[in-house]
């Protein structure tokens, strides 16, 4: 049981991190692009980007939480 969990949990977190890295890269990249297009609206764009990043990051945190919760059985 510990062996399977020890294999699965870090793999799960790694996959979640990969997914969120891709999503964040896309989000922040397009934010940077639009900031370059319209520098006077940078404040609003920053706010929207932070909110979007928080949503994307939260999913990775859920995966990490699974590890923390199951850590005792590891």
């Amino acid at each position: 049981m510990e062996g399977l969990l020890g294999l699965a949990l870090p793999l799960g977190v790694g996959l979640a991190a990969l997914g969120s890295a891709l999503g964040l890269g896309k989000a922040v990249g397009s934010a940077m692009e639009s900031m370059g297009r319209q520098p006077e609206a940078i404040g609003q764009m920053q706010t929207a980007m932070i909110i979007g990043c928080a949503f994307i990051e939260a999913l990775t945190i859920y995966a990490l939480l699974t590890v923390i919760l199951l850590q005792g059985k590891l």
Binding site: Q44, I50, I61, L65
Partner: protein, 449 residues
């Protein structure tokens, strides 16, 4: 004897209280820091005795100052006031001091050391070597290094070897409560493990009886259950005191504290107006309070002897529940109950919408219920992860240097403290912003959705 009126105007006759006030503050600070340091290095009773007697000596000095002021007052003596002052000094203060000294709980050396604290402070201040401003940075650095050696540790076997290596140098290690996560030492842990005034919670008896507060609740269990409530109340108290002070001393040309408050309020109001339109001003206090309160709680975890109460799930879900209830109340108040239900059904306007409305109702209800859970989980995961990261790296810094026989460890957790400052700010801002967004989605808006 005629009193010389010129003597009362000269600076020697009536010494202004500023120097003595600084002496009291510095003595109290030295009492707290020295007490904690001593209780960690030597023993709990040494630290407590030092702290108590340093405070007593400061109180003694203050009473002496008041008595002398009453006696030397150039406007004439009032015998009643002098009698009251000497009543405070002689029986009450001395009786208290004698009771502490004769209680036989504290080693005499600690009492003597505590007694000499204000005298040492006065001497050093008068010589001009020691001022609070010059000492602030070394004191802060010494205190941050001082919190490193005594850390809560795992109850696990995996850490037994590290525990033995670290135990040789730092006899003040203690076990974490749950045995699952370690954290930097905070005030309750210091009171429990180093000074020893609060007993340990008993885990087996508690879990057998069905919870920490069932069975016969001991003081240790009660304190353990309300640990995070204590820290969140401390944050709220700090914020209240700062706000009251800013409000009482407000001026047209703001000082530094008022300017900081004005920056925060302006930014919050600007963001709320951007998100919510005309209702922004009405809901800005709620959003701003959430932001500032969460920021304060997140940063409490970075101060020495502090703990971020947002690193527990129950604390966060309670705040998120407040947001959830407020959002639903806003929906009901602004749209009416039927309008709120209409909104929850996805605002159907045509036949397709009405046919799909039960499904939409179910989906939207689930979405509304998952919002506070996601809010709190996001904040909990970030802050809890940061806390554990800090504790693990600090423990690593201690374990690395322990075989060399050093009393303090390397502060390896310093870059993670900076990261934690950034993340704490961002997470508090995201929580507040998302609350504003949820409120704005419930408000009547004519453009979209």
């Amino acid at each position: 004897m005629q009193k010389n009126p010129a003597a009362s105007a000269s600076p020697d006759a009536g010494m202004d209280g500023a120097f003595l006030r600084r002496v009291y503050f510095m003595s109290a600070l030295v009492a707290v820091l020295g007490g904690l340091l001593a209780s960690q290095r030597l023993s709990g009773s040494w630290g407590l005795g030092f702290f108590l007697f340093a405070l007593w000596s400061t109180a003694n000095l203050w009473a002496l100052e008041q008595l002398l002021r009453l006696v030397v007052r150039p406007a004439g003596r009032q015998p009643l006031a002098i009698l009251v002052a000497s009543m405070v000094k002689l029986p009450i203060l001395y009786g208290l001091g004698a009771w502490i000294a004769l209680a036989d709980r504290f080693p005499v050396a600690s009492l003597m050391a505590g007694f000499s604290v204000p005298l040492a402070v006065i001497t050093l201040k008068a010589v001009g070597l020691v001022t609070a401003r010059r000492l602030a940075l070394p004191l802060a650095a010494a205190f941050c290094l001082f919190t490193l050696p005594a850390l809560a540790q795992h109850g696990d076997d995996a850490h037994a070897v590290d525990a033995q290596a670290a135990d040789a140098e730092h006899p003040r290690e203690e076990h974490a409560e749950h045995g699952e996560h370690i954290e930097l030492p905070h005030l309750i842990m210091a009171l429990r493990g180093w000074i020893g005034v609060i007993p340990e919670p008993d885990l087996e008896e508690a879990t057998a009886a069905g919870g920490y507060l069932s069975g016969k609740p001991s003081l240790g269990n009660i304190v353990h259950v309300f640990e995070n409530t204590f820290f969140s109340l401390m944050a709220a108290l700090f914020l209240s005191l700062v706000s009251i002070r800013i409000y009482k001393n407000r001026q047209r040309l703001p000082g530094r504290l008022q300017a900081l408050a004005e920056i925060v309020v302006e930014q919050v109001e600007g963001t709320c107006t951007t998100i919510m339109g005309q209702y922004g001003r009405h809901y800005a206090p709620f959003v701003g309070t959430i932001f500032v309160y969460l920021l304060c709680m997140n940063y409490s975890g970075l101060l020495p002897l502090g703990k971020a109460s947002t690193s527990t799930f129950l604390n966060n879900i309670s705040i998120a529940l407040c947001v959830f209830l407020y959002v639903q109340y806003t929906g009901i108040r602004r749209n009416g109950i039927l309008g709120w239900l209409h909104h929850l059904c996805g605002s159907p306007k045509d036949v397709v919408g009405w046919v799909l409305s039960p499904l939409m109702l179910f989906l939207e209800l689930f979405g509304e219920l998952i919002k506070p859970v996601s809010l709190s989980l996001r904040l909990f995961g970030n802050i809890f992860g940061e806390d554990m990261l800090l504790a693990i790296f600090a423990l690593l810094g201690v374990i690395l240097v322990a075989p060399l026989g050093s009393p303090v460890g390397i502060p390896l957790h310093l870059p993670f403290m900076l990261l934690s400052m950034l993340l704490g700010f961002i997470q508090a801002m995201v929580f507040a912003l998302l609350s504003a967004v949820y409120i704005s989605m419930m408000l009547p808006h004519a453009e979209h959705h």
